[in-house]
């Protein structure tokens, strides 16, 4: 493998590993093209730690003379090399774990550090681990993905009257970030769609993302219209949206930018739907933070969680200053607004910001969770994520290249997906019985989005995935999460189906720091996990008793 050229030292003995929640261990460190493997050599334990290099966000290394350093095991005097030097590598992971490796030998330490730095951010996607991951319990022939849009459409019989499946994007030429098939109003033909695509940024013309069965209203999403400074119009775009309303009096456009931002966007060729051209649509501007600001917010929050000054005022002010919870509040309240328009007011809504690949997806997903019980099961939720994030072209590769620790200059990174998971967690906490999945699932997804054995979050859109042959050459995460054992661990034992909408409270007191994620590697979280375990056991025990007390029913 060509990775070997990046690996000068593949094995080091007598390495000490320090990681949260475990006592330090001494053993052998191996580095491969994709992994860091540590095997504990202490007597009586055969612990192994396998870390995906992709999971490493940043490292810090320090080399020092062993003669002056007295490490934990220095009394043992086992391993002091004659070279008389050693080094320490601090590894900061994208899942917020921090590990420390004490490596005897300065050269070895520097070699390992260099290998990690190179191999943890390989540019070529086809060299990433998902293309090499071959678990014994799955085959590449297994089904990939949960539900294609074609099947989604054919199952939704109630759509067929007014909506059609268009394959105008079958070769990704109309919109590179859309999937091959999309659902659009029946009255718009493919020629029209091509014209509309030219009028929307990145070709993301309005498509259907949710149909509310109770009243037939829909959520559409798109990117901003390219009206520009001279207020260009596009008849086809107006007709398409008119067709969405079809007879009802009006619809809403939720623009996830402030009015000012939207107006400014005209200067750079973007813009918004003017009142005069889209007379049946009422525009609501709701500013949501995106891009760099969101990434910086995450960095500040993670930094605050690491602050060990033990000072309450300082913690609260850092928490406030990070603005992360404000972003959670905004996302949930905008999603609530969207759901209210559809469910309570009975109107269709078009959602977009500028590119339509970030905050747009965030609020359309949350609104669906609020309104639609079928999205709240384990399978339903994963299907929703597949449709609204993977197929809809959220650029995972760019957004999740780095997490909170990286000192690298930020480019396209932004924790939008993480913000979604946090918002879903808030829903889960406020409605502990209404969602069919567990916190463990959200945590797993948060890890997988940044570094994964699976191909699901690879690339930025379906087109890239097709080119890379993701479907043919990697395994599907969503399928793996639904296997019986995983299903047990990722389902919510308290789940109780409800047809009702779950309206979240966005009062600051109702929103909390997602400890499970941000404080994941502290012992507290462990006590909370124990409680979840207890709940699971209680419900299982109760189920057993219930069954055994009425054998007739089985």
């Amino acid at each position: 493998m060509e990775f070997s050229e990046y690996i000068k030292t593949a094995n080091v003995e007598d390495v000490v590993l320090r990681q949260p929640l475990h006592p330090p261990g001494r053993g052998t460190l191996c580095i491969t093209g994709h992994h860091l493997l540590f095997s504990d050599r202490e007597e009586g334990s055969c612990r192994q730690v396998l870390l995906l290099l992709r999971n490493i966000d940043a490292i810090e290394k320090s080399v020092e003379n062993l003669l002056t350093c007295s490490g934990l095991f220095s009394n043992a005097g086992l391993s002091q090399r004659l070279s008389g030097s050693s080094g320490t590598i601090t590894i900061k992971c994208k899942d917020l774990r921090v590990l420390q490796l004490d490596i005897p030998g300065m050269e070895e330490c520097l070699n390992i550090a260099r290998s990690i730095e190179t191999l943890s951010c390989l540019d070529s996607m086809s060299e990433l681990y998902p293309f090499f991951y071959r678990p014994s319990n799955a085959s590449l022939w297994d089904q990939w993905g949960l539900l294609s849009l074609e099947r989604h459409y054919s199952q939704m019989k109630e759509l067929h009257d007014r909506w059609r499946l268009s394959t105008v994007n079958r070769d990704f030429s109309v919109c590179p970030s859309y999937p091959q098939a999309v659902i659009v109003p029946k009255s718009t033909d493919d020629d029209m769609l091509e014209k509309v695509a030219k009028f929307r940024q990145g070709g993301r013309f309005p498509v259907l993302c949710y149909y509310h069965k109770k009243n037939g209203m829909v959520i559409m999403r798109s990117s901003q219209p390219l009206t520009g400074a001279n207020r260009k119009r596009c008849r086809e775009d107006e007709q398409l949206l008119q067709a969405v309303i079809d007879g009802s009096d009006k619809g809403y456009i939720i623009d996830t930018r402030s009015s000012q931002q939207a107006l400014q966007a005209r200067m750079t060729g973007g813009g918004l739907e003017s009142k005069s051209c889209y007379s049946s649509w009422k525009r609501l501007q709701r500013q949501m933070e995106r891009g760099k600001a969101l990434q910086e917010s995450l960095i500040k929050l993670v930094e605050a969680c690491r602050d060990e000054s033990n000072n309450m005022d300082r913690w609260l002010s850092k928490l406030e200053n990070s603005k992360w919870l404000s972003h959670v509040q905004t996302a949930l309240s905008t999603a609530g607004l969207l759901a209210e328009c559809v469910e309570r007011d009975g109107h269709s809504v078009l959602v977009h910001g500028s590119e339509g690949t970030d905050s747009t997806l965030l609020i359309s997903t949350l609104a669906q969770l609020i309104m639609d019980p079928s999205c709240r099961t384990l399978e339903g939720f994963l299907t929703l994520l597949e449709r609204e994030w993977v197929q809809a072209g959220h650029p995972f590769q760019q957004r999740c290249a780095h997490s909170a620790h990286s000192h690298a200059r930020l480019q396209q990174e932004s924790p939008v997906f993480l913000l979604l998971l946090d918002c879903v967690w808030q829903l889960w906490r406020q409605f502990p019985l209404a969602l069919g999945f567990s916190e463990a699932l959200l945590l797993r997804l948060a890890t997988e989005a940044y570094a994964s054995d699976y191909g699901t979050f690879l690339g930025n859109n379906q087109q890239e995935r097709c080119t890379l042959g993701v479907k043919e050459n990697t395994h599907c995460l969503f399928q793996a999460l639904l296997r019986p054992r995983e299903r047990d661990c990722y389902s919510n034992p308290l789940y109780e189906h409800t047809e009702l909408a779950i309206w979240p409270s966005v009062h600051p007191q109702s929103l909390q720091l997602w400890r499970g994620f941000f404080l994941r590697w502290t012992p507290q979280t462990h006590h909370l996990e124990e409680a979840q375990e207890e709940i699971r056991n209680m419900v299982i025990e109760w189920g057993k008793l219930a069954l055994s007390s009425c054998p007739a029913s089985t």
């Binding site: 005022d313 404080l519 006590h527 909370l528 124990e530 209680m538 189920g543």
Partner: protein
Amino acid sequence: MEHIRTPKVENVRLLDRSSGQRKASIGTLYLSATHTIFVENNPETRKESWVLHSMVSSVERTPTIPAGSQVILRCKDFRVFQILVPQERDCLDVHTSLVRLSRPEKYSELYCLSFNPNVNKEERQESWSFMDLTADYKRMGLPNNLWVSTAANSEYRVCETYPSELYVPKSATPPIIVGSARFRSRGRFPALSYFHQDTLAAVCRCSQPLSGFSGRCQEDEAMLQALMRANPGSDYIYVVDTRPKLNAMANRAAGKGYENEDHYTNIKLHFIGIENIHVMRSSQQKVIDVGEMRFPSMTDFLYGLENSGWLKHIKAILDAGLFIARAVADEGVSVLVHCSDGWDRTAQACSVASILLDPYYRTIRGLMVLIERDWVSFGHKFSHRYGHLDGDPKEVSPVIDQFVECVWQLSEQFPCAFEFNERFLVAIHTHIYSCQYGTFLGNCQKERRDMRLGERTHSVWPELWKERAQYTNPLYRAEQSQSQGVLRPNTTPYCFKMWKGLYNHAEKSTPPRQSPADFLSTVREESQQLEEELANQQEVPPGGTPHHHLGFRQEDSSPDRGANHVGGGSEEED
């Protein structure tokens, strides 16, 4: 009765935001000697709201608007009622009456002295014997050859505010006790709060010494020596002064202060820095204001929370308890705790330490015992602190609120470690203020005895005990690791949060309101029932098996879990 100007007003609008009400309901307002009662006009519901006068902390009248005049009742349990009265005259009457009724001047006006539940004399007496502190000392293994019960304070001769039954080191003779008491503020000499059987170390409490800059007292020094010698495992004791060091030093100018380490051999002085009651009072007011903000932004909220300083104070108290618990459990060293008078911060620190040290105090009955011991019996000034009577507002302070909140913060960190739930803590908090029972009346044991409260009122503890089913935490398992031994909480700032359940009634989630605890309690109850049924090998009652109303689970469970069910079931039947 003479204070009630108008007993009944019709067509009143009541808005109770605290229970999530958004629209005012119309009805009739009644004023009785003990309650404000509102009865809805709606013939279908006829919903009644009762507010005890002693729960009212303030009555406010807002300027008249065309629809009438408004009275705002703010309660000590942080609920807020807005009452709109059509006629200004009526409103004035209601306001004047409530202002007087909510500020009783004599104990005899309090509800507990007129409250007459349907029990006879014997039952009432029995209700008071429910709580038996001697039994708790016995449970700790006392008296033993190190600690004995002393009669020094029988008839409250040495210290008026102490209980008559107290435990002191065996070597502390009456002259030592009396001498030490003379050297301690208000005679509150060192006495035992908790004895830790595993390490033989003890938590003791007292008030500050009257040392000034150079004063000393042989008996007091001997007393501390005796404390140390009562713990064979250690050759020193910690003296924990829970005040900020600066305050303690300032007290020296007034002839009080703290122990001089030159005079007391083998003590280690440790300052914790819990603020005084005045700081706490204004801090809590700020938290209440934060809870009452209608539509705050996240920034407003977090800024308000930080600015109140409340969580900082809660953390300081928990840190104090944790320091004591660690000294006792990990180092095996006895601790003597005091503040100024030894009835506020000392009570907080000692009782938190007991909760951390002993799993018993994390049970429903145990928490009652703990409050009875460290707060009620040791002379925490309930009537002053919680404004039972109209009096000096500077004496009022949420001291026990903070203890109860510490317990809540702990229960959030260890969800399986406590037998009780949040509801229990809120109920205790309510009754401390309500004056419905005699338990928390007065400022010390002597006062309660002099008022003959045992004959004239009822005890709250058996009432709470009767209701224990609704106060039980379904996740609690006595045998679980989290429930056992010493609790070691993390007190990093991020482990604390605002206690929404107590301070904010305003924001309740709209239906479907979901409580996993209630669900789990049902699950647990049913599991027990089923277990019993299986054990008795009884037939399942025909028609409906008891689990049917929760029966959705069977359709929903995955096939392999279903298989587990069957397997498990057949084992049970064998």
